[in-house]
Amino acid sequence: MADLQTYGQDSGLKHTLLRGLLYLVLILFSIYYLFPLFVMVTTSLKSLTEIREGTLISLPRVVTFDAWNYAWNEACVGVECSGIKTFFWNSVQMAVPAVLISTILGALNGYALTKFRFKGANIVFAMLLFGCFVPFQVVLLPMSVTLGKLGIANSTTGLVLVHVVYGLCFTTLFFRNYYVSIPDELVKAATIDGAGFFTIFWRIILPISGPIIVVSIIWQFTQIWNDFLFGASFSSGGSAPMTVALNNIVNTTTGVKQYNVDMAAALLTGLPTLLVYVLAGKYFVRGLTAGSVKG
């Protein structure tokens, strides 16, 4: 497609004008996409007085990290006023095991479903896949009953279980589609060499699964970290994940509205996934497309 440029070469002036327009439009769009981030950052660095006096786009005259400090250490979530940091750790404690478990299970499933196919493997896969599309509202009520019965309602363990169960279909999909393109002959050769199911997985398949492991981890991490529905439904008070805490801080109606603290808390909540995106954007996009376009 890049070649089109060479085809599109009209006369010099017209071409230059068009190119100029093109860049202008792109810059305008960039401003649109960057604007909220800009507002978040500047607002979080201002004092409340300055916010009231200035506007959205005015830069902070005095840069202060008070709001960040307050959001992290002192902001009130419900009645508890010890900042968002405990909830940050809640999210970490929820996300890390859930991501790891669902990725490991997804890798094993994908491997078993492609390289040691059994009768009905396709049906099993199709049935697992279906779980990716179910609107989660349809499982909320039974899940809260079940978590209660299991005695893990309102706990991080409960949320880990929920995220593993509903993340499995995605991780299985990722790994299955990746392993389908690995030639079966590799497994046959290893079988003749005497390696069994787990040896082949561990020694041959896993070492060449690097990219898809990264995709799966990133996808699961962003999904789980960003989740609000399950967090809001199955946790309460001190066990809530960070997104729930953020929403709580923002929607607290008592006292003066501290926009700078809201923005700092929002940034803190968004930072881990943004960081992942900046560091591994390529894999992030791959996960998004793999997770949405089946095939």
């Binding site: 002959e185 046959k188 050769a189 003749i192 060499d193 390696a195 040896t199 041959i204 060449i208």
Partner: protein, 371 residues
Amino acid sequence: MASLTLDKVRKTFGSVEVLKEINLTIEDGEFLVLVGPSGCGKSTLLNLIAGLETSSDGEIRIGDRVINNVHPKDRNIAMVFQSYALYPNMTVRKNITFGLEIRGVSASERDKAVDDVAHLLQIENLLDRKPSQLSGGQRQRVAMGRALVRNPDIFLFDEPLSNLDAKLRVDMRTEIKKLHHRLGSTIVYVTHDQIEAMTLASRIAVMKGGILQQFDTPQHIYEKPNNMFVAGFIGSPSMNFIEAKLVDDNGRIAVTFDNNGQKVVLPLVADSPESYKSWVGKDVVFGIRPEGLTHKRTGSDQPGSQYVNFDAKVEVIEPTGADTMTVINLGGKEIVARVRPDRATNPGEMMTFSADMNQISLFDPTTELRI
């Protein structure tokens, strides 16, 4: 080293019968080549021998041992795959020793084994590379090394050369042949290249649609193909077929057919099989290989000669260097004759050909079997 026996082996995938009652026996040290068109079940048969698939019926034996239910790793076989299937994450050395390591062979023994094999295949300088750093031919060697190092009873090759370019393919073919001579090992080799089959095999098994069509030495298969499929499949360019009739021509049996309103009569040689007699007066398919049809030979006019002359118009010529393939229209069919370059004529001209009646085959037009 060991012999291999397939006894009434069948394989079905679901309701599709991919292999239908295959019977084969090869002796210790034989080089068996399985040929056939794509999808005829060659790889499936090889996988059955390897134990990567289980047969639906029948018995597979290596030596005297029935191995139907023996795990691949306990069959003492080694396999080379079309795609080579080298482990991408391991170095060449690791690739070659992986099987030994799994079997618990000590590190020092592994090192020695790898050195021997690397020396044999001249890949000593590649041992520390990853497969992605190798050329196609080098990968092929490593794949062979991985098989050789185990010193198996039987080697299985599944189209090992088909991913190489033409020149390399010929070279590797020669090397495999040399290797076989040197090691004297039993080999089952799958290809759909009939030249590979002819050059390598001690015996060839021709398959089609899951059925074994013929199982014999290359020469015999070439000269006396069992049926029209084998006749057409083996040999390049392939055998010419002309719909003809068997008649009694003054006491000698002759093949006759119509060529543009003109009757061509080709008397058979005197020592033709008795069985031909019962076909006199009936339709047959007359088969003759291109080298059986040449320019006019000296002495071909003598009565009782094995050569019979006839005239035909040359349609197209395809020089190959050594010979000129001359296409003529005979009995409504395009027929290829192999002519010496200095005797070839230009398209459109008439030319006298002589057919070597010692090199002919006759087939039943309905069953397509050899008469």
